[in-house]
């Protein structure tokens, strides 16, 4: 019964979002402003309907309604309540409903924050958002309905949630990620409204920047969670695989960063208007393209949701409609916004432009690498290839170096033109203080000068000193430092986060240690300066699994701690999962994976030491925090 209600609510929202989405057409035809005014209430109704529909799905999960196919495929009576809730978005159909809910959240938030603004503009923006909502509801209803019934005989037990997904980080990863993906629809809609109503000014830029920042922040968090989860759940110690699905999130992220930087120039100097609009279209397009790649089955991936070319066509059609539609508007209408002021090569404007060029070219190159197997297969008649991680690693390094350099230097640039003397002066002071820091750090920590470490620390120090020295220059007295810091908190946090991220990546890539060994009970192995001792093997039971766990003692310096590496056997599906044992410390992670019983009491283990790995996620969280701080600050100005 509840599932039917959920289904009906979904149909209701389909109709309502359609009306909201295409109402401007009626306004265009009848010239009656009623058709603008009606859009906001319709939009809010859609949110309510979708929310209730989502609640009915959750309810059905919680009461174990296995007569619903989706629930039968993804849940189980033994599943802990918390995971039954999360199972709602554990597979394709339900996750789509979550995506739609996120988008509704954004559109309604936009409405609430802009209630007193220009009616036409708000109406247009909401209608674009509702067209997107409509498209996704249609896709869900017609190809991926989570409320479909399994009749006439309902199974009395479900197939269970994939054990890989039975994990805290993984349950909040989709909501955060989807908030990011769907959030990019708002700048997109704002751009279209600007193109149609020909209104684009610094206020528009500030609005667009607000929503770009918020979406970007959520994307950052979603990606971080995905990386962290993969690290401790998949058992290999890897934290990024350049998998098509990961790239599908990384590319929109890069573009969103370019976008909110470009919008700073648009807001302050009225430049790059067309470019910002184009970026918002590209960001949203990348987001939808990502959805397409992940759900159409054309790319192989460990994350692949669904192998269904039929569904792929539908998403592709949605992609085509919004991308081509918006680009047609862009091509025809955009030259109404010429930017006229000129700037020097050594200026903030140009600095931001370089930032954008680097980010966008990187994004395109990553997307190209992701799509290349398809191109290759098409040209070479069915031959399958994969593009390995080294391609991306080689690609990203020069861009990372260039971007880090730019970030450190960029703060010294002035609008329009910079007094060259001052600029050079600061750069030299910076590079001087930097060089001292680098050499000291590298030598202190590692006792040697190693290229990988040197590069990572160089980039790290460059960014930190750049931000710090700039703060100093901004305040004429010491007590002003605090207010400068607070004023620029968002930016500083985000930039510092980038520094920590780069440092973490560089160090862990250069200095990771790993060995696969066979150990007898009581035996130990020395990896680097750490001793791993295999203490014992224990058997026990969890809620819906049975487990063998190996106690490993980690000894380094004064540190002695025991961690346990497990192999779990899930009762309902007979799947075996490895749970790695991780001992995190500030400077490194100790990582142990249990392998197989090799014979008479001997087990295989994979031992790893991962220095500075936490700094990667710490840095990324700082970035997200900074992004949110900057974003929320804009809301106060609305």
């Amino acid at each position: 019964m509840i599932a039917e209600i959920g289904h009906l609510l979904l149909i209701g929202s389909l109709v309502t979002s359609f009306l909201a989405g295409f109402s401007p057409l009626l306004r265009f035809l009848t010239k009656d402003d009623f058709f603008y005014g009606i859009i906001s209430p319709l939009n809010n109704l859609v949110f309510l309907l979708i929310f209730l529909s989502f609640v009915s799905l959750i309810y059905s999960f919680l009461v174990d309604d296995f007569s619903v196919t989706y629930i039968a495929n993804n849940s189980n009576t033994l599943l802990p309540v918390y995971y039954k809730l999360a199972a709602t978005w554990g597979a394709h159909e339900g996750s789509l409903l979550l995506w739609i809910l996120c988008l509704c959240f954004w559109s309604t938030s936009y409405f609430f924050l802009n209630r007193k603004k220009d009616v036409e503009f708000v109406a247009l923006t909401l209608s674009v958002l509702n067209q997107i909502i409509f498209a996704f509801i249609a896709f869900t209803l017609f190809t991926s309905n989570p409320f479909e019934r399994l009749l006439p005989i309902a199974p009395f037990e479900g197939a269970d949630l994939n054990p890989l997904l039975q994990d805290f980080a993984f349950t909040i990863h989709p909501p955060l990620l989807y908030l990011g993906y769907s959030g990019l629809a708002v700048p997109f809609a704002l751009s279209l409204s600007a193109l149609i109503s020909k209104k684009i000014d610094s206020i528009w830029a500030r609005d667009a920047r607000l929503w770009s920042l918020l979406s970007s922040g959520f994307l950052t968090l979603g990606i971080v969670l995905g990386s962290w989860w993969a690290y401790y759940e998949l058992g290999w110690g890897g934290w990024w695989f350049w998998d098509p699905v990961e790239n599908a999130a990384f590319v929109p992220w890069l573009i969103s960063v370019a976008m909110f930087h470009s919008l700073i120039v648009t807001e302050r100097r009225g430049l790059y208007k067309n470019w910002s609009i184009l970026l918002s279209i590209l960001a949203f397009a990348a987001s939808i393209l990502g959805t397409f790649l992940v759900r159409s089955g054309i790319l192989t991936s460990v994350h692949a949701f669904v192998l269904d070319p039929e569904r792929g066509v539908f998403i592709l059609a949605i992609f085509a409609y919004f991308t081509l539609g918006s680009l047609i508007f862009y091509s025809i209408k955009n030259n109404k916004f010429p930017g006229r002021s000129t700037y020097n090569m050594i200026s903030k404007e140009f600095g931001f432009l370089l930032n954008n060029i680097l980010l966008v070219i990187l994004a395109i190159s990553i997307m190209f690498g992701t799509l290349f197997p398809l191109i290759y297969e098409a040209i070479y008649d069915g031959e399958q290839i994969s593009v390995g991680a080294p391609y991306y690693e080689v690609l990203i390094l020069p861009f990372a170096i260039a971007l880090s350099f730019l970030q450190g230097v960029g703060l010294y640039l002035s609008w329009s033109s910079t007094r060259e003397f001052n600029f050079l002066n600061r750069v030299l002071i910076e590079s001087f203080s930097l060089f001292i820091i680098i050499s000291l750090l590298v030598f202190l920590i590692f006792g040697t000068l190693n290229w990988g470490a040197f590069l990572a620390i160089a980039m790290f120090s460059w960014i930190i000193s750049g931000n710090f020295i700039d703060m100093v220059y901004q305040s004429s007295q010491v007590k002003e430092l605090k207010s400068v810091l607070l004023r620029r908190l968002g930016m500083i946090s985000a930039h510092l986060g980038t520094a920590f991220l780069i440092l973490g990546v560089g160090i862990v890539t250069t200095f990771s240690l790993e060995r696969e060994v066979v150990l007898q009970k009581g035996e130990s192995y020395q990896l680097g300066s750490t001793n791993f001792v295999f203490k014992e093997i224990r058997e026990s039971k969890g809620l819906n699994y049975s487990v063998q766990s190996a106690g490993i003692e980690v000894r380094k310096g004064g540190l002695v701690d025991e961690i346990s590496a497990e192999k779990r056997s899930y009762l309902s599906s007979n799947q075996i999962m490895t749970e790695a044992a991780i001992k995190p410390t500030l400077l490194q992670d100790y990582y142990v994976t249990l392998g197989d019983h090799v014979g008479d009491g001997k087990w295989s283990f994979k031992l790893q030491i991962k220095p500075f790995i936490r700094w990667i996620w710490f840095g990324a969280i700082l970035i997200a925090l900074g992004t949110f701080v900057s974003g929320f600050r804009q809301t106060k100005r609305l």
Binding site: V313, N334, L374, A378
Partner: protein, 178 residues
């Protein structure tokens, strides 16, 4: 100059979409074109119940359906009652292809809910399934009197699907024999 550059993204995306669409289309036709109007492939596998080896020559009650099923396939339960009905009303013979399954679990399930199959082929490794181009379960094939595959349906076999896809073809086949 400016106008042209402004049209570039649009042109690029048009090409991208055409490319992706073509790719998808190829994937779809790959999925469909397999084996229609071709001979049912040869195979040599054990029967589910008694482990005797069966081959293509043992599929004698033709025309018949070949239904791909497994205990892990939830949707297979949906079509099961209809398969039972087809068998009880002697509409058409059904052979089962037990796909990548556990033998004892499969036998137990049939004991529990009923066995609509003349017999089931135990395809643990999915060898015959691959030859048939099977992507998963449930899937149902219609094989005619000469052992040629006439219809392939991916998904649940409901009364509607039976009417639309299978029954018509079955009747035509019967007429052709007259």
């Amino acid at each position: 100059m400016n106008r042209i550059t402004h049209y570039l993204p649009l042109i690029f995306f048009i090409f991208l979409i055409i490319g992706l669409f073509t790719f998808l289309d190829n994937e779809k036709s790959d999925l469909r074109s397999v084996l229609l109007d071709k001979n049912f492939p040869d195979f040599s596998l054990s029967q589910l119940e008694n482990q005797e080896i069966v081959t293509k020559n043992d599929l004698v009650e033709l025309p018949s359906l070949l239904n791909v099923w497994a205990t892990w396939c939830i949707a297979c339960r949906v079509e099961h009652p209809f398969l039972m009905r087809l068998r009880n009303e002697s509409t058409i013979n059904i052979y089962g292809l037990n796909y990548k399954d556990d033998r004892s679990k499969a036998i137990n399930l049939l004991d529990q809910i009923g066995d609509p199959y003349e017999f089931s082929i135990f395809d643990h490794e999915g060898i015959l399934a691959i030859d048939l181009g099977v992507y998963g379960a449930p899937e149902t094939f219609l094989i005619d009197k000469r052992g040629i595959i006439r219809v392939r349906h991916v998904g649940v076999l409901s009364p509607e699907v039976w009417e639309e896809k299978f029954n018509g073809v079955l009747n035509n086949l019967k007429e052709d024999e007259q």
